[in-house]
């Protein structure tokens, strides 16, 4: 970003124009925001088509409700809140295990590794598969917090505003999510965590 201040000014102008019904301005706003909205939706739903559905619904809702936006507040917070709610709604509509997926065929090979083989275990595709499988065991809000904070890099205070909860609740959701994911990784991908990092009770040192 060459000039963040200018971009923010542009964004504010785009929002103002879009609120007045300027479709070109709104389309430009969509272009600016679409990637992150789609990414968030994907990491929650585990499906690019679902992510497209969610994002489309989010932007259409945004177009209809732009006049409700308070310019005194961060636009992104509002946008990601709508995104989070839409993605969580979709996740809930599928039930708690809606996205539980079988282990991949090469999973057995990973299980047999006693040493860390980061190259094979942590390929991008394998990591994505692992997340889709293990995150299915998270409550929707835990998953959303993990996605926003750990994957999208949103700060805790902002996640709290997006989720409309206290920061302590965000930290609690994150802690729970990490525990579940960590336990799943240790169980399904034992070669990922060096033996030296495990305690005798099966957990790890910090």
């Amino acid at each position: 970003m060459d000039n963040p201040g200018q971009d923010l000014k542009d964004e504010a102008e785009l929002i103002r124009a879009a609120t007045d019904g300027n479709r070109s301005a709104f389309n430009e706003l969509v272009r600016l925001k679409r990637e992150r909205v789609v990414r968030i939706a994907f990491q929650v739903t585990s499906d690019w088509d679902d992510a497209l559905d969610v994002a489309q619904g989010v932007f259409l809702r945004l177009w209809k409700n732009l006049d409700r936006y308070d310019p005194g507040r961060r636009f992104d917070t509002w946008l990601y809140r709508v995104t989070a709610n839409a993605a969580i709604d979709l996740l809930r509509s599928r039930g708690p295990k809606g996205h539980l997926q079988p282990l991949s065929e090469d999973h057995g090979e990973l299980k047999d590794e006693s040493a860390v083989d980061a190259e094979s275990v942590l390929s991008s595709a394998e990591l994505q598969k692992a997340f889709q499988r293990l995150a299915a065991g998270l409550a929707p809000k835990q998953r959303m917090v993990f996605v926003l904070k750990e994957i999208e890099g949103v700060e805790t205070a902002e996640v709290a505003r997006i989720m409309n909860v206290a920061e302590s609740t965000v930290r609690n959701h994150l802690l729970q999510a990490r525990r579940v994911l960590r336990a799943g990784l240790e169980r399904d991908y034992p070669g990922l965590v060096p033996d030296s990092a495990r305690r005798e009770d099966g957990s790890e040192e910090n």
Binding site: R23, F131, N206
Partner: protein, 162 residues
């Protein structure tokens, strides 16, 4: 333990650093750092998913769909063409089944309906591929939707293109 200065930043807080993407790129390319992060808390490796590329064309499709929808109020573009088409087919079949089916007994003997069935037209080709066309009479078409011992037949008032 392997020590890269970047690693401490990563473990301290991925989100606080303005160099987040740079750090993640380092983590992606540095097996030793990945192993160290895995030893500390393997779930933190999922931060690498931030580098995952969105499928080509998906973002443009999103923009196009939204632009179309807001340019033509009341027109919501098909959000998932494949899924929506099947949903509409299923709904059509359900409605048609509710209004125009009658049961055949288990030995296949036909029970005539008390009155002429209401007929619906299904024109999607793929829907019919799962069913068996058992006979036709004049312009009507019959489709067998039987499951187990129950036989259900649907009638359509146009010839189906199977």
């Amino acid at each position: 333990m392997h020590e890269h200065p970047e690693l401490r930043l990563l473990l301290a807080d991925y989100t606080a650093s303005p160099r987040r993407e740079e750090l993640l790129r380092h983590l992606q390319g540095c097996a030793a750092c990945r192993a160290d992060v895995a030893a500390e808390d393997p779930s933190r490796l999922f931060a690498l998913l931030a580098l995952e590329a969105v499928p080509e064309g998906l973002l443009d499709r999103l923009s196009d769909n939204v632009a179309t929808a807001i340019a033509e109020p009341g027109t919501v573009p098909a959000r998932r063409s494949f899924r929506m088409r099947w949903a509409s087919i299923a709904a059509s079949l359900l409605l048609a089944g509710a209004f125009s089916t009658y049961l055949l007994d288990r030995d296949g003997k036909q029970t005539e309906p008390a009155s002429a069935p209401v007929a619906f037209v299904v024109q999607e080709r793929k829907a019919e591929q799962a069913f068996t066309l058992i006979s036709s009479r004049e312009t009507a078409e019959w489709i067998d939707l039987s499951v187990g011992g129950e036989r259900v037949v649907m009638i359509f008032d146009e010839e189906l293109d199977l």
